[in-house]
C-alpha cells in the first residue's frame, strides 16, 4: 500500500513537473506527448473518459481491498472465527461479481459507443485531405486539393490549420505502421493494401509530437513525426511554399552544392522538385530547410546534425536504410549550404 501511495505521489509530482515545464521543449519544441493534455475535442473526450475510468476503477479496487481486509479480520483478532451467512455471501457475490461489473459494462459500452461513434463519424467536407504514408522508418506526407490532385509532398511533418477537420488517409507500401499523435487523436494503423482514415480537428495552435505505435522493424523506436497546428492564413502560406518547385540556384556555391548532391547519387533516392533529383525511396527534400527535425524526429535540423547524418546515418539511427556518404570538406560545405537554402 505504502509503495503504491509513494508512487502515486511521485507520479503526481512528475506530472505537474511536465505540465510546468512545457518550456523545456522537446526536439523542435513540441509539446510533451500525453493523452491527458488534449488539443482536440476528440482527445479531450477520451481524456475525460480516462479520468472517469480511473475514478471508477479506484473505487472498485478500494472496495475489493476493504472487503478482503474485512474478510481477514478474524485471522488477526483473538475472537472466534465466523462464517458469512449464505444470504450474505450471495449478496456479496451478486453485488460485487455481477451488479458492479454490469454497471461498469453498461457505462463503458455506452460511453464507448458514443465517443467512438463521434470519432469515427465521416464528416469532413473541409476539403483538406492529407495522405500519410508509412515508410521504413519515416513518414511521407502528401497534401491534396479538393479534386484529389497532389499539391505538395513533404516528410515527417504534418501542418494543419486550426479549427478545420483534416481527413488523413493512412497507407503503407511496406510493413504495418500506426499513426499516433497522443494529444490529438487515437492511433490508426497503416496497413499495406488498405487505405485507413483518421480525422483530426485541432482546437489549439501548437506543435505536437507523434509516433509510430506498431512495431515496424529495427528503427521503430525512432519513427516520430510532428504535427504543427497553425492559423488558417499561416497554413495557407506554408502550403503555397511547399507547393513551389525549386529552380537551379544562381549562386555558384549553392549550384556547386546541387552538383555534389547529384554527383553522390543522392537523387537516386531523394526528390528535389525542379532539379534532376527525382528519387522516390527517401523523403522529398524540396523544402528540407523548413523542417524542424531530421531522421523522422530523431535529431534537430541543424547544420552540424545534418552533416553527421549524411556522413554516418548508422551512428544516429542504427539500421536505417540511408547509406553513408563520405564527402570532401569542400563538397560537404557546398552541399550543406545548398540544403540549408531549401526553404
Amino acid at each position: 500500500m505504502l509503495v503504491q501511495l509513494r508512487f502515486i505521489v511521485r507520479m503526481l509530482s512528475i506530472r505537474s513537473a511536465i505540465v510546468a515545464s512545457i518550456t523545456i521543449l522537446l526536439i523542435a519544441g513540441a509539446n510533451a506527448t500525453s493523452i491527458t493534455a488534449p488539443a482536440t475535442d476528440d482527445a479531450a473526450r477520451v481524456a475525460n473518459l480516462w479520468w472517469g475510468f480511473l475514478a471508477f476503477a479506484s473505487f472498485v479496487f478500494l472496495l475489493v481491498i476493504v472487503l478482503l481486509a474485512t474478510a481477514m479480520r478474524s485471522a488477526f483478532a483473538a475472537g472466534e472465527s465466523s462464517q458469512i451467512s449464505p444470504r450474505g455471501g450471495w449478496y456479496l457475490v451478486l453485488g460485487g461479481g455481477v451488479v458492479l461489473p454490469l454497471i461498469a459494462v453498461v457505462g463503458l459500452v455506452g460511453s464507448g459507443l458514443w465517443i467512438g461513434g463521434v470519432i469515427a463519424r465521416d464528416e469532413p467536407a473541409s476539403g483538406l485531405t492529407v495522405e500519410v504514408s508509412g515508410k521504413r522508418w519515416w513518414w511521407e506526407v502528401i497534401y491534396y486539393d479538393g479534386a484529389g490532385k497532389e499539391i505538395a509532398r513533404t516528410a515527417n511533418e504534418v501542418v494543419l490549420p486550426v479549427g478545420r477537420t483534416a481527413r488523413i488517409l493512412l497507407t503503407s507500401d511496406n510493413v504495418i505502421h500506426s499513426f499516433w499523435a497522443p494529444n490529438l487523436q487515437g492511433k490508426t494503423d497503416l496497413i499495406p493494401g488498405r487505405v485507413n482514415e483518421s480525422h483530426i480537428t485541432p482546437a489549439k495552435v501548437g506543435v505536437y509530437r507523434g509516433l509510430c505505435a506498431e512495431f515496424c522493424g529495427v528503427q521503430h523506436a525512432f519513427m516520430a513525426f510532428i504535427v504543427e497546428v497553425r492559423e488558417e492564413n499561416e497554413f495557407a502560406a506554408w502550403l503555397a511554399d511547399q507547393a513551389r518547385p525549386r529552380t537551379i540556384p544562381d549562386d555558384p556555391h549553392l549550384r556547386r552544392g546541387l552538383e555534389v548532391f547529384l554527383a553522390y547519387d543522392c537523387g537516386t533516392c531523394h526528390t528535389i522538385r525542379g532539379t534532376p533529383a527525382q528519387g522516390k525511396m527517401g523523403p522529398d527534400l524540396t523544402h528540407l530547410a523548413m523542417r524542424e527535425s531530421l531522421a523522422a524526429g530523431t535529431i534537430p535540423n541543424t547544420k552540424g546534425h545534418l552533416a553527421g547524418w549524411i556522413g554516418d546515418p548508422q551512428a544516429v539511427k542504427p539500421g536505417v536504410l540511408m547509406p553513408p556518404t563520405a564527402l570532401e570538406p569542400d563538397d560537404q560545405e557546398a552541399l550543406l549550404a545548398y540544403l540549408a537554402s531549401l526553404d
Binding site: 449464505p86 450474505g88 459500452v109 497522443p182 523506436a221
Partner: protein
C-alpha cells in the same frame, strides 16, 4: 449455498454395509482383504494390505532407471514434473532477457543493447513466456496434480504424454539455441505480416519461430487430449462431475480451450511458413492476400491463450483458498460456471487486439461489449473467494500470501483490462506501455503468482519435503514490492505516449524517471523469483520432511505418501463428497476400490457424468518409442527449413518409430 454436504445422487456404488466397490470381472480374489474398523487411523483404508501385493504393484509401476531409462518413463507424475522444471528453466531465461531489456530502458538513448538485439530479446521474451513457460507450466501442474486429485494412477494415454514432453523439449531448445547464435526472430511474438514475411525478415528466425510454434502446439494438444480423457473417464468412483475439485474443472476447461484455440495458430503459422518457403501469398496484398487475415487468425488463438494460462491459475487460487481457510469453497457451482463461461467468452474477444486496424466501428462494438462482459465471471470468482475467507482463521503460509498478492495485482490488471475494452480509450493506449503494464498485471498477477503459490503448495507432494517458510515469505515480499515498483509506473508511461517495443527513447520525451524506477523494481522482482528458486533447490536436501498432508487439504492427492509411490495410491478411493479427505476424517472411514490387479498397470474407467465404474483399462508401461518418435518428427519439422528431402526422411523415421510404438503387446496375457 455453502453446504458442507453435497446431496446429489451418487450412483449405486456406495454400499452401506461394506463401503467397498468390487470390480465385477475380477478374477483375482486373493487380495480382497478383510475390512477392519480402524477408527484411530481413519485415512488409511479399512483393508489389510498384503506386502507381496504392494511389492508387485511397485514393480508394475516403477519407472526404469539408468541413462537409457531416463528417456523411457511414462508415469504421469514424472512427465508432469519434467514439464514444470523445464518450464521454470525457460521462465528464468526469458526473465533474464526481460532484465536486459529493463537495463537498456533504464536511461534514455542507452546503447547497452543495439536495436537488432533488443528486438530479438523482446520477441524471444514474449514467445518464451507464453509458449515455453506459461502453457507448459500449467499443463505440468495439471498433469502432475489432476490424476492424483481424481484418484487414478496415470493418464489415459501415458506414452502420448511422454511424446508431448519430448516434442516440447526439442522445439524449445532449438528456439533458444537460435538466440545464442544470434538467429532468433526479431519481429515480435505476434509476428505481424508483412514484417514477418520473407521480404522484411529474410533470416531463418521467423521460420524457426513457426516451427517452434508447431512443436508447442503438438505438445499442448497431446496434453489437452490427455487431460480431457483422463478427467472425464478415469475419475475415482463416486466423483461425479459436481464433486470434481475446482482445479480439475479448471484443467478441463483449459484443455478444451487448447483444443479449440490451437488449430487457429497451427493454421496461421502453417500459412506463414508456406508464404515464406514457397511464396503462397496468403498474407501478401499484391498477390491477393491480406495482412489482416494473419491478425484475425493469430488473435483468435492469442486471446483465448491468455485465458488458457489464467483459468488453471484461478483453479490453483480456489484450491489454496479452500485449504488455508479450512473451509468449503463458497459458491462451488458459481465458480465452476464462471470458469466454463470464461472459456466460452474468451473466444469472442479477439478483435479487441485490432481496434486500431480501421475495422468498422459498429462491428467492433460487439467485441467491446464481450471484452467488458468477461469481468463478470472473474468478478464472481473473486467475490466467492472473499466470501469463503470471510471471518475464517486463515493460515498465512507462503501459498496463501501469494494468493493475497494475486488479489491485489489481478484486480488492478482486471480493471485496466476492462478499460482497454473501450474502443476510444484503447485507440489511445493500444501498443503503449499502459498495455505492457496491464498484461503484466494480468499475467504475473493472474498466472505467475498463483503458480508460485502452487509451487509452494504442491512442492511437498513432489519432493517429500517442505520449502522454507521464511525464505518463502521473503520471496513473496520481494516479488510483490518489486512487481508493483516495476510495472505500476508503466501505466503513466503509456499515458505519456511511450509506445511498446522501442529499444530506446529520447531524453526530451520525459520518460526517463519512471523508466529508471521501473528498472529498479524489475531487479527486486527478479531477486524475489531467484529466492524462490534457490529455496526450491535447497529444500530438496534440507527441507523438513512433509507428511502425507502437511496443509490438511481436502483433495485426494493428499491421502497418499509424499512423494507418492509410482502407483500414486495403494487403493483407488471411493468418493462421496466434494471434500473427501475432510469427510473421511470425520467419518473415520475411507472406502476404497478393490479388485485391480497389482502385477500390471491397471486403471479404473468410470462414466463421464456420475463416475460409475465401467471397465478396467491396462495402460502401457515405459517405452523409448515416444522419445524416438519425437526425434523423428523434429527431423522433419526443422529439416524442412533447409531442404525438402527432410520431409521424406522424417516420414520414414516416423513410420518406423510409430511401428515400434504401436507394436502389439498383450495386456490380456496371464503372466
Amino acid at each position: 449455498m455453502s453446504k458442507r454436504r453435497d446431496d446429489a445422487p451418487s450412483g449405486d456404488l456406495e454400499t452401506k454395509d461394506g463401503r467397498h466397490w468390487e470390480h465385477p470381472q475380477t478374477r483375482d480374489a486373493a487380495h480382497h482383504g478383510r475390512r477392519e474398523e480402524e477408527r484411530q487411523e481413519p485415512l488409511h483404508p479399512t483393508v489389510e494390505d498384503n506386502e507381496e501385493e504392494i511389492r508387485k504393484l511397485e514393480l508394475a509401476w516403477a519407472a526404469p532407471t539408468g541413462f537409457i531409462g531416463w528417456f523411457k518413463p511414462v508415469n504421469q507424475r514424472i512427465i508432469g514434473r519434467r514439464f514444470i522444471v523445464t518450464a521454470f528453466v525457460y521462465f528464468v531465461l526469458a526473465g533474464l532477457l526481460g532484465l536486459a531489456m529493463r537495463l537498456q530502458l533504464a536511461v534514455p538513448e542507452n546503447d547497452f543493447l543495439p536495436p537488432e538485439i533488443y528486438n530479438q530479446f523482446f520477441t524471444v521474451h514474449g514467445t518464451a513466456m507464453m509458449f515455453l513457460f506459461a502453457i507448459p507450466v500449467l499443463e505440468g501442474f495439471a498433469l502432475f496434480v489432476t490424476p492424483m486429485m481424481i484418484g487414478t494412477r496415470d493418464m489415459a494415454f501415458p506414452r502420448l504424454n511422454a511424446f508431448g514432453y519430448y516434442v516440447y523439449l526439442i522445439g524449445s531448445s532449438i528456439f533458444f539455441v537460435m538466440l545464442l547464435v544470434g538467429m532468433a526472430p526479431d519481429t515480435g511474438w505476434f509476428n505481424y505480416v508483412p514484417l514477418a514475411g520473407k521480404l522484411y525478415a529474410p533470416g531463418v528466425g521467423v521460420d524457426i519461430w513457426t516451427t517452434m510454434i508447431t512443436f508447442i502446439e503438438v505438445s499442448a494438444l497431446t496434453a489437452a487430449v490427455e487431460l480431457i480423457v483422463t478427467i472425464l473417464k478415469l475419475r475415482a468412483p463416486g466423483m461425479t462431475l459436481n464433486r470434481m475439485p475446482v482445479f480439475v474443472w479448471a484443467s478441463l476447461v483449459m484443455a478444451f480451450m487448447i483444443v479449440f484455440a490451437m488449430p487457429s495458430i497451427i493454421v496461421s503459422s502453417s500459412l506463414l511458413i508456406l508464404d515464406r518457403l514457397v511464396s503462397t501469398g496468403f498474407f501478401v496484398p499484391e498477390m491477393g492476400g491480406d495482412p489482416l487475415l494473419w491478425q484475425h487468425l493469430f488473435w483468435f488463438f492469442g486471446h483465448p491463450e491468455v485465458y488458457i494460462v489464467l483459468v488453471p491459475a484461478l483453479g490453483i487460487v480456489s484450491t489454496i483458498v479452500t485449504t488455508f481457510t479450512q473451509r468449503t469453497l463458497f459458491g462451488y457451482t458459481a465458480i465452476v460456471i464462471s470458469i466454463v463461461a470464461t472459456g466460452f467468452v474468451s473466444f469472442g474477444l479477439w478483435v479487441h487486439h485490432m481496434f486500431a486496424t480501421g475495422l468498422p466501428h459498429l462491428g467492433m462494438s460487439f467485441f467491446m461489449a464481450a471484452s467488458a462482459m468477461i469481468a463478470i465471471p472473474n468478478g464472481v470468482q473473486v467475490f466467492c473467494w472473499i466470501a469463503t475467507m470471510w471471518g475464517a482463521r486463515i493460515q498465512f503460509s507462503t501459498p496463501m500470501l501469494y494468493v493475497l498478492g494475486f488479489f491485489w495485482v489481478f484486480v488492478i490488471g482486471g480493471l485496466t483490462g476492462v478499460m482497454v475494452a473501450s474502443i476510444p480509450f484503447d485507440l489511445q493506449v493500444h501498443d503503449t506501455y499502459f498495455l505492457v503494464a496491464h498484461f503484466h498485471y494480468v499475467l504475473i498477477g493472474g498466472s505467475v503468482m498463483p503458480v508460485l503459490g502452487g509451487l509452494y503448495y504442491w512442492y511437498p507432494k513432489m519432493s517429500g519435503r517442505m520449502m522454507s517458510e521464511f525464505w518463502g515469505k521473503v520471496s513473496f515480499a520481494l516479488v510483490f514490492i518489486g512487481f508493483n515498483v516495476a510495472f505500476f509506473p508503466m501505466h503513466q508511461l503509456g499515458l505519456d505516449g511511450m509506445p511498446r517495443r522501442v529499444y530506446t527513447y529520447l531524453e526530451e520525451m520525459g520518460w526517463s524517471e519512471l523508466n529508471f524506477i521501473s528498472t529498479i523494481g524489475a531487479f527486486v522482482l527478479a531477486a524475489g523469483f531467484a529466492t524462490t528458486f534457490f529455496n526450491a533447490l535447497a529444500s530438496l536436501r534440507v527441507g523438513p520432511k512433509a507428511g502425507n498432508n502437511p496443509w490438511h487439504a481436502e483433495t485426494l492427492e493428499w491421502v497418499t505418501e509424499s512423494p507418492p509411490p509410482p502407483y500414486n495410491q495403494r487403493h483407488i478411493p471411493i468418493v462421496n463428497s466434494r471434500e473427501p479427505v475432510w469427510d473421511w476424517r470425520e467419518e473415520q472411514e475411507r472406502p476404497v476400490v478393490l479388485g485391480l490387479r497389482s502385477d500390471r498397470r491397471e486403471v479404473l474407467v468410470t462414466s463421464i457424468l456420475d463416475a460409475e465404474p465401467h471397465a478396467v483399462q491396462v495402460v502401457p508401461g515405459p517405452s523409448i518409442w515416444p522419445f524416438l518418435s519425437a526425434i523423428a518428427a523434429s527431423v522433419g519439422f526443422v529439416g524442412i527449413l533447409f531442404h525438402p528431402i527432410f520431409f521424406v526422411v522424417s516420414f520414414f523415421l516416423a513410420f518406423f518409430s510409430f511401428v515400434g510404438w504401436f507394436w502389439p503387446r498383450r495386456p490380456w496375457r496371464e503372466d
